[in-house]
């Protein structure tokens, strides 16, 4: 049977409203309404299988990577259409990209390769994203967290290969990954930002060892990655040698666009569902003035953040950041608002929130899980303290300490 073209199926060619309708129709048809509950009791392996199944569903209608150009197998949707896709996925409570198996492959990899990759790299790696290649990030190291540019994983050129030794950490889903976006030091004599290069690591290479790290939620989403005399072909260099820091900015910027948008939309869906469920069941907090006032304040802040994200996304793409540091402001506000919301849900829920259920928990179902998990977001992708430094120094022009 001929696979229907994405645009035909979802109606993107007929304009935004048709796409929105198409998305809703498709989601109603294909998405199991109880997937969160269904997977809550199962194993990590079952949840991974489920995510693979979901990626395949998305791929079939062309929205695995909605913005990926058609020449690399994507639907090539324009930016407005990408936002509609993200908004409808969030609204329907579809499995999230963020913090999940395919986050790096569907978000960071296309952003990095489209901006910096050679044509050969694009043709080699981009189609595989749609087929379910899992990627991870090898950025942070035990001694290079907030001060990422001080990373010490060493790559020494040896003919047509680099030989890499070092240790990476906080690498999400790396136990399942086929490839890794790897930052290495290629020139130890240069100033720290100038001696970094950006490589693609095949995780099956000899000398790669992955050891899981258990988080305070009890889950082990990320791992340490040990690299011992790992050979990486020079052809896997993304961007010029020793200019990996600039390439890494493209990777990090990817988190601040559609991903931030989807996160905010998803959050709003959770909040609305929480309110409805609380009202329907007559939960105590819905009769307490201080609680109602707090809920209203959080809701209003969330909406303010949604407006800020739209303001960011409305900018021309060649001006992604600007001197006002809006991405950093959004990261700071959104992650703390989510943390406040989870904290509030826990307080509203009382002792019942302290009873523990399942090992595999999806965001938006268990307040205590969301509360603990929220620290992952206030710490990762540049801790909020780093965001404050950036805002103070670059937006406000305050002196460096």
């Amino acid at each position: 049977m001929r696979r229907p073209a994405a645009n035909d199926f979802l109606g993107a060619a007929d304009g935004p409203e048709a796409l929105r309708e198409g998305m809703r129709r498709w989601l109603a048809e294909v998405l199991p309404g109880d997937w969160r509950q269904a997977y809550a009791a199962k194993s990590e392996a079952a949840y991974v299988d489920f995510q693979r199944w979901w990626l395949d569903q998305r791929r079939r209608v062309g929205i695995a990577v909605p913005g990926l150009p058609a020449e690399y197998g994507g639907a090539g949707l324009d930016f407005e259409s990408q936002l509609i896709v993200a908004e409808e996925l969030a609204r329907a409570g579809a499995p999230p990209l963020e913090g999940a198996l395919f986050m790096v492959s569907l978000t960071h990899v296309p952003a990095t390769l489209l901006a910096w990759g050679t044509e050969a790299q694009k043709r080699t790696y981009l189609p595989g994203l749609l087929a379910g290649d899992v990627w991870c990030q090898g950025f942070s190291e035990p001694g290079a967290g907030s001060d990422l540019a001080s990373l010490r994983t060493r790559a020494v050129r040896d003919g047509d290969h680099f030989v890499v030794d070092g240790q990476k950490t906080w690498s999400s889903w790396s136990r399942h990954a086929r490839y890794c976006l790897l930052l290495v030091r290629t020139d130890p004599a240069a100033p720290k930002h100038k001696g970094i290069s950006y490589l693609i690591l095949d995780m099956a290479s000899p000398g790669v060892e992955v050891r899981p790290i258990v988080q305070p939620t009890g889950q082990a989403e990320f791992s340490e990655v040990f690299l011992t005399e790992v050979k990486i072909p020079v052809a896997n260099l993304i961007g010029p040698e020793n200019e990996g820091w600039a390439v890494a900015q493209s990777t990090l910027a990817a988190e601040r666009g559609v991903l931030a948008f989807e996160r905010a939309e998803r959050q709003m869906s959770f909040v609305e569902a929480f309110l409805k469920a609380s009202l329907d069941s007559g939960t105590a907090w819905t009769r307490q003035d201080h609680a109602k006032a707090e809920f209203t304040e959080v809701y209003a802040r969330m909406q303010g953040i949604r407006c800020l994200i739209r303001k960011l996304l409305a900018r021309p793409h060649d001006d992604p950041s600007g001197a006002d540091m809006l991405p950093a402001i959004i990261k700071l506000l959104a992650t703390e608002c989510a943390q406040h919301y989870a904290d509030m849900q826990v307080r509203f829920g009382g002792l019942a929130t302290q009873l523990q259920g399942h090992a595999i928990v999806c965001d938006g179902t268990v307040p205590m899980h969301d509360f603990i998990q929220s620290f992952g977001d206030t710490i990762s992708a540049g801790s909020n303290e780093i965001m404050r430094n950036l805002i103070a120094e670059r937006r406000l022009g305050l002196p460096r300490g």
Binding site: K276, L279, K292, G304, L396, L398, G401
Partner: protein, 347 residues
């Protein structure tokens, strides 16, 4: 913000920079100059007073977005005067007064001959007769006084101003000589509430930005321990948090303005919620800015206290912020129970 409003903002900010610097405001506060009158005359001459009024009615036609921008720019320099109630009255008169009366009243407001005054705390039994606006001159007073519904009144005799902490605005008690011009429908009362809340929020965002900008400049210039104090992370992070709050409030305000202009079902929610958030945050920011200035911030001569007191008055205007949030919550709850979802984002 449209390009037209951005251009207007630039020209308004330029005039205010000339007329309404910190020293001028302090001279006003000391009773050495009537800056409020001078600004009002200048505003009339430049057409600011009709910024939200339709062009057909002699205004600029920049709508609520224009009015909110004007109020924000004035607050940014802690401008004294009765601009907020005047602009609020103009909006209600334009929408709800009979055409013949409307034309005359709007012409008077736009020309600066008449100022507006509104109930400071309409639903508060203890302060139902307290009014925000100029205490003398030709005034159009809008409120529900003496237990009757919303009406428009004319006042001419000077009233005794109440002594208040904020020295950039004036409160007084409804005088006995007020003459009723017309009754207004219930929708006008709702409109006044929303417009007033929104303009108070605009004042809050403007004043918070104003004192914040001065504080950042101070952190960049003041030296202790041989370095500029803005290099200390403990202070820098507070400044960053304030910058983030301000960016969010500005976005929230833009959303509230768009909702009200579109006459969206959620407009009342957003104006009330925005007033509550903006005024609480403005008090927090003005407080922290005073603290960040250290000793110099704790002097009468410095600007910090003017902004802090203005923020405090704003917080109390309209209605108590908890009450405003509860009102907003009821609107949210009704929508949720009806199965409706998702506040749209207009901006």
């Amino acid at each position: 913000m449209t390009e037209e409003i951005a251009a207007l903002r630039q020209s308004i900010a330029g005039v205010l920079a000339d007329m309404c610097g910190g020293r001028a405001v302090h001279r006003h506060v000391a009773g050495e100059a009537a800056l409020d009158r001078a600004l009002h005359t200048q505003a009339a001459g430049l057409g600011w007073l009709g910024i939200g009024v339709a062009e057909d009615h002699g205004g600029v036609g920049a709508g609520l977005a224009g009015s909110a921008m004007l109020i924000g720019e004035l607050a940014r320099v802690a401008a004294p005067g009765s601009f907020l109630p005047t602009v609020a009255v103009a909006h209600v008169v334009e929408r709800f007064c009979e055409p013949t009366m409307r034309e005359g009243l709007l012409a008077g407001i736009v020309a600066g001959k008449v100022t507006g005054a509104i109930a400071a705390r309409p639903d508060d039994a203890d302060h139902g007769d307290t009014v925000l606006g100029d205490r003398s001159g030709q005034r159009l007073l809008l409120g529900a006084f003496g237990g009757v519904g919303l009406a428009l009144w004319r006042c001419e005799d000077a009233a005794d101003a109440l002594a208040i902490w904020d020295m950039t605005r004036t409160l007084w008690t409804v005088p006995s000589d007020a003459q009723k011009l017309c009754d207004l429908p219930g929708e006008a009362a709702a409109c006044l509430k929303s417009v007033t809340s929104l303009l108070i929020a605009a004042d809050c965002v403007g004043l918070a930005q104003g004192i914040f900008d001065r504080t950042v400049a101070y952190l960049n210039e003041r030296e202790q321990f041989g370095v500029r104090i803005g290099s200390f992370q403990a202070l820098k992070h507070r400044a960053a948090d304030m910058a983030a709050e301000l960016a969010m409030l500005e976005a929230m305000l833009g959303h509230a303005v768009a909702a009200l202009e579109a006459d969206d079902a959620e407009a009342a929610f957003w104006s009330a919620g925005c007033k509550a958030s903006a005024s609480d945050t403005a008090v927090a920011i003005a407080s922290d800015c005073l603290q960040l200035h250290g000793g110099i911030g704790f002097t009468w001569e410095h600007d910090c206290h003017l902004f802090l007191k203005r923020a405090r008055l704003n917080q109390m205007l309209g209605a108590d912020n908890v009450a405003m949030r509860l009102r907003a919550f009821e609107a949210l709850a009704a929508r949720a129970l009806a199965g409706e979802r998702r506040g749209q984002v207009m901006a």
